[in-house]
């Protein structure tokens, strides 16, 4: 569904991501893992049209996203849950969710949006309880659910999540990842970017490892979980754990 070929992203003259290629097929859950500054968020920025300065190819459902503005990309069916949630804190929870359907109101009318609103609050009952509360007063986990709910309101074909575990307690992270899995089971294609490599790979079908702007590894999630390089770099094991060097 999403194809990226030879992507290069620059801030000014500095290339942050070079020659990255990846693909996401319909119904898949893909995880991109990598350390701080590896270029994960930059990559997503390019996909969602927030970052203009890139070369290479990004194709979504067979159409190139080159030169397309962020709102146009949302209309194409890509919806993002931004890093650090970025909910609209002075707006009520309900208004935040309605904002997610911003591009759809004119095309599809109120009733369909209202149906989706129902679906989202069924998935996250806590949002119904808090619907009139200001979004800024929610807890971190609730805000993350709101951010996911808001993105779902756009009825995305591809849901892009940027570090949904950031700043959350482990128990809440577990809940968020369960939700992501449930979403995949209902047919949403998901592209997940995470530092929390183990959790991200556990629920993914396939994974990519990004390091200083380059794609260094890719494979099925199960393979990556047991890969020694991944273990060393991202799963908290160091060389001391590998007595006989790289055991392949």
């Amino acid at each position: 569904m999403l194809k990226i070929k030879n992507l290069k992203c620059c801030y000014g003259n500095i290339a942050v991501v070079h020659t990255v290629s990846l693909s996401v097929r319909q119904g898949e859950l893909i995880s991109i893992i990598g350390a701080n500054g590896a270029g994960k968020s930059t990559l997503l920025g390019a996909v969602c049209g927030l970052l203009k300065n890139w070369s290479g190819e990004i194709e979504f459902k067979g159409r190139s996203l080159k030169g397309m503005s962020a709102p146009a990309i949302v209309s194409q069916g890509i919806s993002m849950v931004p890093e650090g949630r970025q909910i609209f804190s002075p707006l009520s929870v309900m208004d935040n969710l309605k904002m997610g359907a911003y591009t759809r109101f004119r095309k599809e009318g109120k009733t369909r949006v209202a149906q989706d609103l129902d679906r989202v609050v069924q998935m996250f009952p806590i949002l119904r309880e808090r619907s009139d509360q200001l979004a800024g007063t929610l807890s971190g986990g609730e805000q993350q659910m709101l951010a996911i709910g808001r993105a779902l309101m756009a009825r995305p074909a591809l849901l892009v999540l940027d570090e949904p575990s950031m700043g959350l307690a482990p128990k809440i992270v577990g809940m968020i990842f369960e939700t992501i899995q449930t979403l995949r089971d209902t047919g949403v294609t998901i592209l997940l970017v995470e530092q929390n490599a183990r959790a991200a790979l556990k629920i993914a079908d396939r994974g990519y490892v990004l390091e200083t702007g380059k794609m260094v590894l890719q494979g099925s999630a199960d393979e990556l979980l047991v890969d020694d390089d991944v273990k060393r770099a991202y799963l908290g094991k160091d060389y001391g754990d590998f007595l006989d060097g790289r055991n392949q």
Binding site: A70, M80, P82, Q86, F88, K98, M99, Y102, T103, F105
Partner: protein, 319 residues
């Protein structure tokens, strides 16, 4: 929940209409009516800027320019060329909107201080054009010979008739702003204020929306300028200068950002205060400045929010 909200809105409108009509019908002193009329005109300006600054978070330091464009367009068309003033109103609004579009297209790509600087420059240019284009605008000595507004047998001269005209338009503007803010567009505006990146990410074309609201606030400014010109019948460039832009910003801030009633309250305070303070003679500006400082220190969120907080704490203390 929704009906409760609707009910309070209707009560607010009703109170507003009662107070405005009661004042207009009872007061016979033309001086008071005149002050109230100015409050109405300034409310329109503050409402427009509040949409841009209070809700969308885009600071404009050149709002008086649209006020001036509105006033001078109608003055020139109806005064020099004897065009029907109501037609001139349409032209004035169209001119302001068009200029807002042209100016906004590049400047609204800026944000924060840079946007403030950009609009500041624009305001100064407009003021200089008015001042120097003497053949058309009357230059620094002002424009004389603006006709009085008429509608059928009704003549809007100073006094109660003009008062009701202005406040009728203010009421309509308040309703329009309210409706706009309660809509999807209103939510999008507040979303831009809170986080422009997140707003883009959910598919809001922020640049287009900022431009639209800039044009809307320019239109309100032009209407205010129109009303001002046909009220005082003599206009000069000083009324539309940089200081007045700052004054409109102050109205919005003092009244309370992101509040429709705040715009009204801020306009009222900043129009009334100089009149009330005349008694202080040479100390007037010092007292004026002090009042503004005290309000900002004790009610940093503006008068509306500040007064509401005081009422709430008083209620809680009683309970």
């Amino acid at each position: 929940m929704m009906t409760d909200k609707n009910k309070t809105i209707w009560i607010e409108y009703l109170v507003f209409l009662c107070v405005v009509s009661a004042f207009g019908l009872i007061t016979e002193n033309t001086y008071y009516l005149q002050i109230m009329t100015f409050i109405g005109i300034n409310t329109l300006l503050a409402l427009g800027l509040n949409m841009l600054m209070g809700y969308t978070g885009q600071v404009s330091l050149g709002h008086a320019a649209f006020y001036g464009i509105g006033a001078y367009t109608t003055a020139i068309l109806s005064g020099t060329y004897a065009i029907n003033p109501w037609l001139a109103l349409v032209c004035a609004v169209a001119a302001a909107v068009l200029i807002a579009f042209i100016v906004g297209l590049p400047t609204l790509r800026l944000s924060g201080y840079y946007l403030a600087m950009g609009t500041l420059g624009f305001g100064m240019i407009v003021n200089i054009v008015i001042r120097e284009w003497g053949d058309v605008t009357g230059g620094a000595s002002g424009f004389v010979g603006i006709p009085v507004l008429e509608a059928g047998s009704l003549v809007f001269m100073s006094g109660a008739s003009y008062y009701f005209l202005v406040w009728g338009i203010v009421f309509a503007a308040i309703i329009i702003c309210r409706r706009l803010l309660a809509s999807r567009t209103g939510r999008a505006l507040r979303a831009i204020h809170d986080g422009e990146n997140a707003a883009v990410a959910i598919g809001i074309n922020t640049h287009a929306l900022k431009l639209e609201i800039f044009m809307f606030s320019a239109a309100l400014g032009a209407v205010a300028g129109f009303l001002y010109a046909h009220f005082v019948l003599f206009i000069s460039p000083e009324s539309f200068g940089f200081m007045f832009s700052i004054k409109i910003v102050t109205m919005v801030v003092i009244g309370g950002m992101a509040s429709v009633w705040g715009a009204l309250l801020g306009a009222a305070v900043l129009t009334l205060l100089p009149e009330v303070l005349h008694g202080f003679a040479e100390y007037e500006m010092i007292v004026f400045g002090t009042v503004l400082m005290v309000v900002m220190i004790f009610m940093p969120q503006g008068l509306t929010r500040g007064i509401m907080d005081i009422i709430r704490t008083a209620r809680r203390a009683r309970a």
